[in-house]
């Protein structure tokens, strides 16, 4: 069975550039729109890149700011200064 790494974010102005960055940086990502929330699924691994978000919002962005808009996730987390990654593979 496929193992989807998944992030669910709020449908808000603060989350929109993060959602765009995820869609741009993770080929094959599947988007499920729900009222108020967006679920993003990707086979095996899903990454949010700091640089990619910063490019969209025009200011510095700390990947931990994702806490403000994160609803749910599935996968093992690896968090660092430049990225926020969840993955099932090791």
């Amino acid at each position: 069975m496929a193992q989807f790494a998944s992030l669910t974010l709020q449908q808000t102005d603060a989350a929109r550039p993060i959602i765009e960055a995820i869609i741009a940086d993770n080929p094959g990502v599947r988007v499920l729109n729900m009222p108020g929330a967006v679920k993003l699924d990707c086979d095996g691994k899903l990454t949010v890149n700091r640089a990619s978000v910063e490019q969209r919002i025009g200011r510095t962005w700390d990947p931990q700011e994702i806490h403000l808009v994160l609803i749910s996730m599935a996968g093992n987390l690896d968090e660092d200064d430049d990225h926020f990654t969840i993955a099932w593979r090791h």
């Binding site: 193992q3 108020g36 929330a37 931990q64 806490h67 609803i71 749910s72 996730m73 599935a74």
Partner: protein, 504 residues
Amino acid sequence: MSARKLGLKQRYALMTRGLDWETTYQPMEEVYPYDRFEGIKIRDWSEWEDPFRLTMDSYWKFQAEKERKLYAVLDSFAQSNGQTGISDPRYINAIKLFITGVSPLEYQAHRGFAFTGRHLRGVGPRVAAQMQSLDELRHAQTQIHTISHYNKFFNGMAEWPHMHDRVWYLSVPKSFFDDARTAGPFEFMIAIGFAFEYVLTNLLFVPFMSGAAYNGDLATVTFGFSAQSDESRHMTLGIEVIKFLLEQHPDNLPIVQKWVDKWFWRGHRVLGLVAMMMDYMLPKKVMSWKEAWEIYFTEAGGALFQDLARYGLRPPKYADVATAEAEHISHQNWCTFYQYTHAAAFHTWLPTAQEMDWLSEKYPNTFDKYYRPRYEMWAQMEKDGHRFYNMALPQLCTTCQIPMVYTEPGDPTTIAFRQSMYKNERYHFCSDGCKDIFDAEPEKFAQSWLPVHQIFQGNCGGATVPDVLDWYKLKVGEDNLDFGQSPDRKTWDEWQASKSRLAG
């Protein structure tokens, strides 16, 4: 050149490690008296890895920001009379069930994680449990604040803490947490941290809160998603706990497996209330309970247990039974509340023709065959002036405390009954899952406070239904019975009439 800022991983290590010490005035065994009796073996607490590298200073910063956002929304909602803009007043009944059944669990989780943080001797889990304990208190408080606004206009919410401790169906969620909090600290971490937070909580907070958004409840969706942003951290704690225990010692596997089996089934039973909220109590629907189960248990849980298979852990026992029950559980629960509407602190109703068509579409294997005819019969009885009330007190399952209304796996027209003997007393169960849990710890579950038994023993205000409702502080004719004749309905109709007058 200035010194480079420390990286996140280094910063985290410096801020969370080396904060503890070996006690000298008292032996460590006496300072931490509860972390051995469950049989879990820990070789090295320092092998604990924190997936979220959140330090206490960042934690306060982010939580403060979340609170500012949340309270700005709540204030605006109250200021602009947001309660008049919801999709349909029946929706409020889901919020009544939330404040009486779910919010008190947040407080229980707060206390449980405070206890667990105190009693696990590793510094990593102590920090994580401390943060989660604070989160859970925040969730209880924000939910009470949010729902207090609805309480000004609608019935059934005013006595929520009193009701949580007494009302028959609220003993289902209450006893779930009582069971977890009276277990040892490791079982609590698997019960709440892993089984509830990781495997099951998405089913409550994601599709249901999305439903709140869809039904115009700006206040609830905001507290819901604000809470859920903490939940992601709790989920990673849950998955870390299980990996840590399984990596520490091979003897931990059978103990952890037993807890995973137990708490999956306990959680599945409690979430039957949410199934009913989603399929029947959200007037505008996001997805069915069955669809939510497929996404959040079959798919997400499947990926998780595939990952944990490398430790020898298998998916929870009876996961297949639970998945088959997703076709039935919301219908069987709503039918029960319809029959016992006189004893519930929220309103019930029969689904409309349109709603029944939606249910047929979402449950093509079961709805038209087993449940539509029942609703059509009850609708006819209402029309004939004989609305059906079930006046018998039901037999309860000793483990989950739900009335024995569920059916045999594979046979939806036969009620499932299981039983066990313990010290010459017979105990009854709704399922093999609940019977197994009792049989593994009969000395614990034989002490269950079962609402129906307590009524018959004379401990609930008296021998008649009105006596018991009075003891619940449930106001007859205001809090209970069908929505159609309720004061809530009257309030709503007046708001609508005044809108029409303004529109000319």
